[in-house]
């Protein structure tokens, strides 16, 4: 189907306008040039308003204005009616004509306000005999859905600048839906298949009434089917969650690009602070140890002259034997008294007795002084040892203190580095982002795990369904009364199989075809052909763009690149679906620069050889280079300007 013409009456800037889109054999390309504010985007809005009763591309200024043309409001008298109408004249592939028309009535009140009186939507087409048929209500809406389904209109009538946003928000589920709608797979799945299944269920219920065994088999099948459906539902939900998580992860990854992991840095900082505290405590203990050493050795070293003198005196006394042998006086007196040795018990002879007396004489010469000197000997030796080891101990402790100081400095530097990294970022928000990303990573991982199990469960459920079907089939064949029903059941079952096989084949083909076409188109359009390696449409219909280094790089595309990808996908969708509806693009190359504009223009010219393309361009977009490419191919060229009071659009054929 293509748009033959659009007629606007009192719709926004357009008091009376007709835009025709006559085609040539080799091209169906048309464009309208207009600066911002002249009503270019409102052509897109007019089509939406006519077909779907909404205006999704209204500017902020237009939103405040009534849909009625301002000049008309101005000129019309109080109490008079105003009609706003948009007609979209379409022709089908077999040249049949369809006209979609929406009319809204307004009345101008006493205070000059415009009051809406009602809206009517109808379509006109020829019946089999060539008479005009007017269709309204649900049936008219049905025709619109067949022309361009509302749920996927963004792939047909779109604002080039917004396509990127739509594409960003389009999950695999949305894209799958678009693919299914455009290629009519949903017609098979949600309507023919579903209804055949319902009819089949009715037949088997009827057969069940004839024979309890059939009823048991039927009930078993119903239960098995229900379980299978349940598993399938859970699988879809899982996939949806995975998809949503995937998008969110990319979203947060985008936000966090170049942003430090605040949470991790903070944890590291806490550990460092603890380390710092422990090291500082250790350092303090070492310093106290050193001070203790200084005090202890200080006393000894400061008294060194006294130590030396005392040592010398003791040596002299020992040399002079003034220091007695360490024998107890009382011990010697006991020996003499007992006249026997207290150690071995031997009686004292004359010689021994003399010796003991001699010793006692020496001891008698020992004074308290000597005792003191004797007692002093060991401590003096210890003082000397201490003094000798002082320097070594001091240096060792000092070395440990220096090391600990270094460690502290190192920690302080690291903390400072972390603080620098974290400076300038809003901690809380970044933490939130990291937490959210982790949350979605967990959701994705959990669901992927769950999905694995569910896919196994589905295999089992499918097998159970097959067994139950076979059992029911056998029971039906056995039951003579159910012969007629058995025929119908077999027929329906076979019909369902064929529809399902067709659907599944189409789904796989559609995805593959779209992938091929998207790839072809994108690599034909994009300038960084060496950067990107491949495009894939994954089984869940999400789009994956592979960098030449092998990683996923959807998240790092520029706005222009995203738009090219979105455009490529849209064209691929049209190409692969076999669905023939026009494409209308408002500002197709606004965010694309230079050579790529020309690439887009070339691709659109190529597509226009088999599909209607209508472009709404700004003068900037219709540059010399672009016009060189499209002017020769365009069948219809219009210029849109505003009247002097800026309340009316003027359409001029170029």
């Amino acid at each position: 189907m293509r748009i033959e013409k659009i007629i606007l009456k009192n719709y926004r800037q357009f008091r009376q306008a007709k835009i025709s889109f006559l085609r040539r054999n080799d091209s169906d390309l048309h464009y309208v040039i207009g600066t911002n504010g002249t009503g270019k985007t409102n052509i897109l809005n007019a089509i939406n308003w006519c077909l779907y009763n909404d205006e999704p591309h209204l500017s902020k200024d237009s939103q405040r204005l009534p849909v009625v043309n301002l000049q008309t409001i101005d000129k019309i008298g109080i109490g008079k009616d105003i009609e706003v109408a948009v007609e979209v004249w379409a022709e089908t592939d077999d040249d049949a004509k369809v006209t979609f028309k929406r009319q809204a009535k307004f009345i101008k009140s006493d205070d000059g306000q415009i009051i809406h009186q009602g809206t009517k939507f109808e379509l006109m087409t020829d019946d089999e005999r060539g008479n005009t048929k007017i269709i309204t209500g649900e049936e008219a809406d049905g025709w619109v859905e067949r022309f361009v389904p509302k749920s996927i209109r963004e792939f047909f009538f779109f604002d080039g600048e917004q396509l990127d946003n739509y594409f960003k928000e389009a999950t695999g589920q949305n894209i799958q839906h678009a693919v299914f709608q455009v290629s009519q797979i949903d017609l098979l799945e949600n309507r023919v298949e579903r209804k055949l299944q319902e009819i089949l269920d009715d037949y088997t219920k009827d057969a069940g009434k004839m024979n309890p065994k059939i009823e048991i088999a039927r009930a078993k099948l119903e239960q098995a089917q229900s379980q299978l459906n349940e598993v399938q539902k859970r699988i879809e939900e899982c996939k949806k969650q995975i998809e949503i998580s995937r998008i969110k992860i990319v979203e947060f990854a985008d936000k966090l690009k170049g942003v430090p992991d605040i949470e991790a840095l903070d944890q590291e900082k806490q550990l460092l602070l603890e380390n710092f505290k422990n090291t500082k405590d250790l350092l303090k203990a070492k310093k106290i140890e050193k001070e203790g050493l200084l005090i202890e050795c200080g006393s000894i070293l400061m008294l060194w002259p006294a130590i030396e003198m005392a040592t010398k005196v003791i040596e002299e006394k020992k040399t002079k034997r003034e220091l007695p042998p360490p024998v107890d006086k009382g011990f010697l007196e006991d020996i003499l008294r007992n006249e026997s040795c207290s150690v071995c018990g031997r009686s004292l002879d004359e010689r021994s007795n003399k010796r003991v007396h001699e010793l006692l004489g020496e001891v008698e010469f020992s004074s308290e002084t000597s005792q003191r000197l004797v007692q002093m000997e060991n401590p003096l030796w210890q003082f000397k040892e201490k003094a000798e080891s002082f320097d070594k101990q001091r240096k060792s402790t000092e070395g440990e203190i220096t090391s600990l100081d270094k460690v502290l400095n190192g920690i302080t530097q690291k903390i400072s580095q972390i603080d620098s990294q974290m400076a300038g970022y809003k901690d809380e928000q970044i933490r939130d982002w990291y937490r959210e990303r982790k949350k979605f990573e967990d959701i994705r991982d959990n669901n992927q795990l769950l999905l694995g199990g569910l896919l196994e469960n589905r295999k089992v459920a499918e097998s159970t369904v097959e067994e139950a079907k076979s059992e029911l089939d056998n029971e039906l064949k056995k039951e003579k009364k159910a012969k007629g029903l058995a025929k119908k059941v077999a027929f329906c079952t076979r019909a369902l199989e064929i529809v399902r096989s067709t659907r599944e084949a189409m789904m796989a083909e559609a995805r593959e075809r779209i992938e091929i076409e998207t790839r072809k188109c994108f690599f034909g359009l994009v300038w960084k052909t060496a950067t990107f390696k491949d495009i894939k449409i994954l089984p869940d219909y999400s789009i994956s763009l592979i960098h030449k280094m092998g990683y996923e790089c959807m998240g790092s595309l520029s706005a222009g690149e995203r738009e090219l990808l979105a455009l490529s996908f849209t064209l691929a969708l049209h190409q692969a679906s076999g669905f023939d509806s026009p494409i209308l693009i408002d500002t197709p190359v606004a965010r694309i620069s230079g050579l790529n504009r020309e690439n887009v223009a070339k691709v659109l010219c190529e597509v226009s050889t088999y599909k209607q393309i209508v472009l709404l361009l700004t003068p900037d977009e219709h540059s010399k280079d672009v016009s060189k490419i499209i002017d020769g191919r365009a069948c219809g060229r219009y210029l849109l300007t505003l009247s002097s009071d800026e309340n009316q659009a003027i359409l001029e054929v170029l």
Binding site: S183, L187, K195, I199, A490, F491, R494, T502
Partner: protein
């Protein structure tokens, strides 16, 4: 049949998977066009069952099984 466009691939697919069984092919293609004609709810059961009643008889004679 309406002048409404059905994706050719669907028609092809039905034909391929029906294994040249004309009864089944016609039945399904008719159903598809019928569905494409009607959007929203409609009394499909009567039409479906009538066609199944007729086609299942013809089909049994011709079926590939």
């Amino acid at each position: 049949m309406s002048n409404l466009k059905i994706n050719e691939r669907i028609i092809e697919g039905i034909r391929e998977n029906s294994k040249d069984n004309k009864v089944m092919q016609d039945f399904l293609i008719d159903l598809i066009y019928e569905e494409a004609e009607h959007l929203g709810t409609w009394w499909y059961k009567d039409i479906y069952k009538k066609r199944i009643d007729k086609c299942s008889e013809d089909w049994e004679e011709n079926n590939e099984n």
